[in-house]
């Protein structure tokens, strides 16, 4: 094991061109030609060399390299979870993937070259002008430093630390190391191991005791090449009595430079703290989105995941909460939309580990065309505990004949003093409903999107205003293509 020190010179970039970095936005929309040069590039394929390279570029401390190398071993040793998950996972070619890109891209595409329908989509979604260019890949750097430093200034006055993962581990090791990789151990699953080996980007946040952060912290403001990356790592710690909301993603179709996105997000809510984590993501149809998200809630603490997944080829994501202290509360509210050729395999995990803990799961999925949604839930309440409660509700909406939905709730609730409530429903938008709405003057597409928006309406209300408006428009756009 060799230590990489900050002074060591960096290896030359392995390649300066990329096969298909714009597997973007809408593959059918037009032919992109796109070429980028990367200042730092780990090349394709995954080996110890790749991991060492990433660690050296980031000038990491030896313990982090150690952590990465150990993770790589675990990743390589672990089989694909295809004994329970879809065989489509076998189509990921790990040798073809680019594991690290840093800043310094010079995109060659101009705004004029961006296909009209993509521009139109941005318009319909109300994406601000300057963000459109970034999302379309015209600008590599999202010019929002002003907005970001503003928020950073405000919260740093309260003692909040809000940095990226590299900076977090470098500048505040004593703080972050304590929880880093603890909520989600490296070997939790094959993809958490992968992330642990090659992570870069993501946010590290610490909110001091009793501090209530008034405005949501947004990853949106912090988009740069790294955060747009595939293997971001986020750790949020809310100290005793602290409160914070974090939002990531945006509803605009995401220009993706890679076909594999595998993030790890860990949340730690100490005694009486509250963390709310909101995700709205719209991946392009070639992306494998395999994300591990988990939070731990100590006594009287609350962790709440609001998760909205649209697009991607395959999403596997089951946000979880470990209810570790008495009276802790955990909640997962999720919306998944699977269009043609897409598979949303989502759900939630609630691990009760103390008395008087409560958890709530509401999952809604929409399958359009040949789209497929799967709900997987896990609720665990051991019999040694008392007064624990879980409520699980999963509702699926099928739009066409060929769409498909499956539900796999695993609820292990022991002990007579605990209670669990489970409801599941599968519904369809009926021809009669569509006719009824069309009879009032709505086109078939409008009728369909209204019905779908109605189906998710009670959950969308929980989203911050600007997200819920965007989400509605996004559903409209998705539904337009679904009707003949």
């Amino acid at each position: 094991m060799s230590d990489v020190t900050a002074t060591e010179s960096l290896p030359a970039p392995i390649a300066d061109t990329v096969d298909n970095p714009v597997s973007g936005i809408d593959q059918t929309a037009g032919n992109f030609s796109y070429k980028m040069d990367y200042e730092f590039d780990a090349g394709t394929g995954l080996s110890e060399k790749t991991v060492r390279y990433i660690s050296s570029v980031k000038k990491e401390a030896p313990w982090i390299l150690e952590f990465r190398l150990n993770a790589l071993k675990q990743f390589l040793a672990k089989p694909m979870p295809t004994h329970w998950a879809t065989k489509d996972l076998e189509n990921i070619n790990f040798d073809k993937i680019r594991y690290y890109l840093s800043s310094g891209q010079k995109p060659k595409r101009t705004w004029e070259e961006v296909p009209d329908d993509i521009k139109k989509t941005f318009e319909r979604l109300g994406v601000p002008e300057h963000e459109r260019k970034f999302l379309a890949g015209v600008e590599a750097q999202f010019d929002s430093e002003a907005a970001y430093s503003n928020i950073k200034d405000i919260v740093s006055k309260q003692g909040v630390i809000f940095v990226n993962s590299t900076e977090g581990l470098r500048e505040h090791p004593e703080l972050f190391r304590k929880f880093f990789g603890k909520v989600i151990p490296t070997g939790d699953n094959k993809f958490s191991a992968l992330n642990s080996a090659v992570f870069s980007g993501g946010s590290f946040i610490y909110v001091p005791k009793g501090v209530k952060v008034a405005q949501p912290l947004q990853a949106y403001f912090r988009i740069n090449a790294e955060n747009f990356g595939q293997f971001e790592r986020t750790l949020i710690i809310a100290d005793e009595g602290a409160e914070v909301t974090y939002m990531e993603g945006c509803t605009a179709p995401k220009f993706s430079t890679s076909t594999l996105h595998s993030a790890v997000v860990e949340l730690v809510a100490l005694k009486g703290a509250k963390i709310q984590y909101i995700t709205v993501q719209n991946w392009s149809a070639n992306v494998f989105n395999l994300v591990t998200k988990r939070g731990v809630a100590e006594e009287d603490a609350e962790v709440r995941w609001i998760d909205c997944n649209i697009g991607s080829r395959l999403t596997m994501k089951y946000p979880g909460v470990v209810l570790r202290g008495k009276r802790a509360r955990g909640e997962v509210l999720s919306i998944a939309l699977a269009n043609d050729g897409q598979h949303q395999d989502t759900g939630a995990k609630m691990i009760h580990a103390a008395d008087d803990t409560t958890s709530n799961i509401i999952a809604k999925s929409i399958s359009v065309g040949e789209g497929r949604s799967t709900y997987r839930g896990l609720v665990h309440i051991p019999k040694t505990l008392a007064n624990c409660r879980n409520n699980t509700e999963c509702d699926a909406l099928l739009i066409n004949e060929h769409s498909r939905t499956d539900t796999y709730p695993a609820i292990s609730v022991r002990g007579r003093k605990n209670s669990v409530q489970h409801e599941a429903s599968v519904s369809k938008v009926s021809a009669e409903q569509i006719f009824y709405m069309m009879q009032r003057g709505l086109s078939e597409g409008e009728a369909m999107s209204l019905a779908v928006n109605g189906f998710v309406n009670d959950l969308v209300k929980e989203f911050p205003m600007e997200y819920s408006v965007e989400l509605k428009r996004l559903i409209e756009l998705q539904m337009e293509g679904s009707v003949g």
Binding site: Q439, L450, F455
Partner: protein
């Protein structure tokens, strides 16, 4: 002045003929009542005119102001001025009455035209007050968990908001209590005075006491077999459909 002409209309469901050559013309401001036994094809007629995709028009035509509506999609027909008050209105979970009607009105505006939200709500509330529908209903999902009578009132509210040229009212009276019947009738009469033409399907003479029809037609086995003025409805009520049936038996 508008007119809705139904000309020798034949409608099938699958292979089965239901409406078998029906002719009828409704002009602005007129109220035509259609009465007839269960399963005669009254609802089929109304839905076929509105463009329901399960109903095949095998021959005949439906003209709105001289122009055939048959090539038009249901939503185009609606925007052209045809309204169907359903016998069994659909429930649309999660879609509030306010949002639904707003979308429906927006759909009638031109490209780039935006609905004036304040004016819209003002109008919505005034129509609701008129129909004595609690304002709280604006945020309730359309017909979701509504009582039978509430659904029917909600249909009339939509009609009042959308201001069609012609309304096909399919048993709007069934399920309404006596007070609601009068309220709904007042609403329809008010619209009638502004030139709405109505084709009213009903089983009961009572409604016709409130909304006095210009013409009454008896439908039997997919056809109109007898037409007359409002007295026909009274006669029917007194004698029952057997009377019509007996008249039909060739002498």
């Amino acid at each position: 002045m508008s007119q809705l002409e139904i000309k020798d209309l034949h409608v099938s469901i699958g292979e089965k003929p239901i409406v078998k050559g029906l002719t009828l013309t409704v002009r602005s401001g007129e109220v035509h009542a259609i009465m007839g036994p269960n399963g005669t094809g009254k609802s089929t007629l109304a839905k076929a005119v509105a463009g329901h995709p399960s109903y095949t028009i095998t021959s005949g035509d439906v003209l709105l102001d001289g122009k055939s509506v048959l090539p038009m999609q249901p939503d185009e027909r609606a925007r052209a001025g045809l309204f169907l008050a359903f016998q069994y209105p659909s429930e649309i979970p999660g879609v509030s009455i306010a949002n639904f009607l707003r979308a429906a009105i927006q759909a009638r505006l031109g490209e780039g035209e935006e609905l004036d939200a304040t004016g819209y709500y003002k109008r919505l509330y005034s129509k609701m007050d008129l129909l004595q529908i609690d304002r709280k209903f604006t945020s309730r999902a359309i017909n979701d968990g509504f009582s039978g009578g509430e659904k029917k009132r909600c249909e009339i509210l939509q009609m009042a908001m959308l201001e069609p040229k012609f309304a096909l009212m399919d048993e709007t009276d069934s399920g309404l209590d006596i007070d609601a019947l009068r309220i709904v009738a007042d609403g329809v009469n008010a619209l009638r005075s502004t030139n709405l033409g109505v084709l009213m399907i009903t089983h009961y003479q009572r409604l016709l006491g409130y909304i006095v029809p210009d013409h009454v037609h008896v439908m039997w086995d997919g056809r109109i077999v007898k037409s007359g003025d409002k007295s026909l409805a009274l006669e029917l009520e007194a004698k029952g459909y057997d009377w019509v049936k007996n008249e039909l038996v060739p002498a």
